[in-house]
Symmetry: C2
Subunit: 190 residues, 2 copies
DNA sequence: TTAGTCATGTAAGTCGTTACATGATTAT
DNA sequence: ATAATCATGTAACGACTTACATGACTAA
């Protein structure tokens, strides 16, 4: 039972439909949780049935109707209780790192290519999230916003997201360089 | 099917029993994958049945017998094939960040306490992993080792682990400070 | 006319976590 | 005595992924 709290936390900032929430889980929410749309639709239904969310139907013309969800008092209480429980440590789980671990026992060419690709993806995310941070804090300088802003939660998780992606990028580039240097070395001594 | 490759990659460095592998998954392997002992015992049995690992019984006195596993040629081939496939991006999934996201809509005291605690845990991991790096590279300076060392895979993933933990610690301390400052602010204006 | 956005799900299968189960040896 | 280490699993449940299913509107 963990996705439920991520959904509740994401919905604190307003009304969302399942579809909009799925978008959010690709953008800002991705900084602290990941989930596919199918999971979200199922979780929203469950949370509504339990009374932690309330949904209302919105009729639309020219596009499908949708249901918008808001966190109820019970939902806020559930989050409150969750915050008191001990958090489990977070784990890295990354295909690419499994490949790097095996790197000098298997062919390295494919791994190097994927490191380059990942570095590029991370660069894009850093750029995107940096822009998102600017939007979130508006005109105010950062420390001012952090001291007096009304809603800083999403900003704080976004900060972590930027640092994580930046760090991912640095590592990928460095490891790719190391593996390339070793390839050249081997070519020379052959 | 992802744990299987993490297990194969971990076993590249020698013979392990399920018990020893579980230890490894708490230490070095934790830098790229996480799994509980139960999962590992099940996965080892499956991999052996498929011929990707071979196990041999070791009789012991004064303590329970154990089974040691080695990667077979088929296992190495499986890893090779895995390295060629496209890696999925890795996701953050962290209870603590869910709490921070909700931070200014719920009570912050518990969150601050957990941030401090996590910072301390991460500090410990950084220290431990830094020492592990030193052990792995022996006497050689790092760039020398990375160019000519025989087996650098575990070192490379460990580097990422250190960076990740260091970054986690910095973030926790910073966020805890921000939340504390806001608490004091509110106290002054009350 | 092709791809992308908006919008919501079901079904099957795999993966991961929690709880349970056992039992001898060694260090504090 | 108590806790930790060594050693291997089973069973039940909950979470997550992959594949499938539908259908109208809009922009290039």
């Amino acid at each position: 039972m963990a996705l439920r709290h991520a959904v509740l936390a994401a919905l604190l900032d307003g009304e969302y439909s399942g579809y909009q929430l799925a978008k959010a889980f690709d953008i800002g929410v991705a900084n602290f949780w990941h989930a596919l749309p199918q999971q979200l639709y199922a979780e929203l239904a469950k949370l509504e049935k339990e009374g932690l969310l309330s949904g209302r139907q919105v009729l639309q013309e020219g596009r499908p109707n949708k249901r918008l969800f808001t966190v109820t008092e019970a939902g806020r209480a559930e989050l409150e209780a969750f915050a008191e429980t001990v958090a489990k440590p977070s784990f890295i789980r990354d295909d690419l790192m499994v490949k790097v671990q095996a790197a000098d026992r298997i062919g390295t060419a494919a791994v190097i290519a994927q490191l380059d690709e990942r570095a590029e993806v991370s660069r894009g995310k850093v750029e995107f999230l940096t822009e998102l941070l600017r939007t979130l804090r508006g005109d105010a300088p950062e420390d001012e916003y952090l001291r007096h802003g009304e809603r800083i939660g999403p900003y704080l998780t976004c900060l972590r997201g930027v640092a994580f992606e930046q760090e991912t990028r640095d590592w990928c580039l460095r490891i790719a360089a190391v593996l390339r240097a070793r390839q050249e070395n081997r070519a020379e001594h052959a």
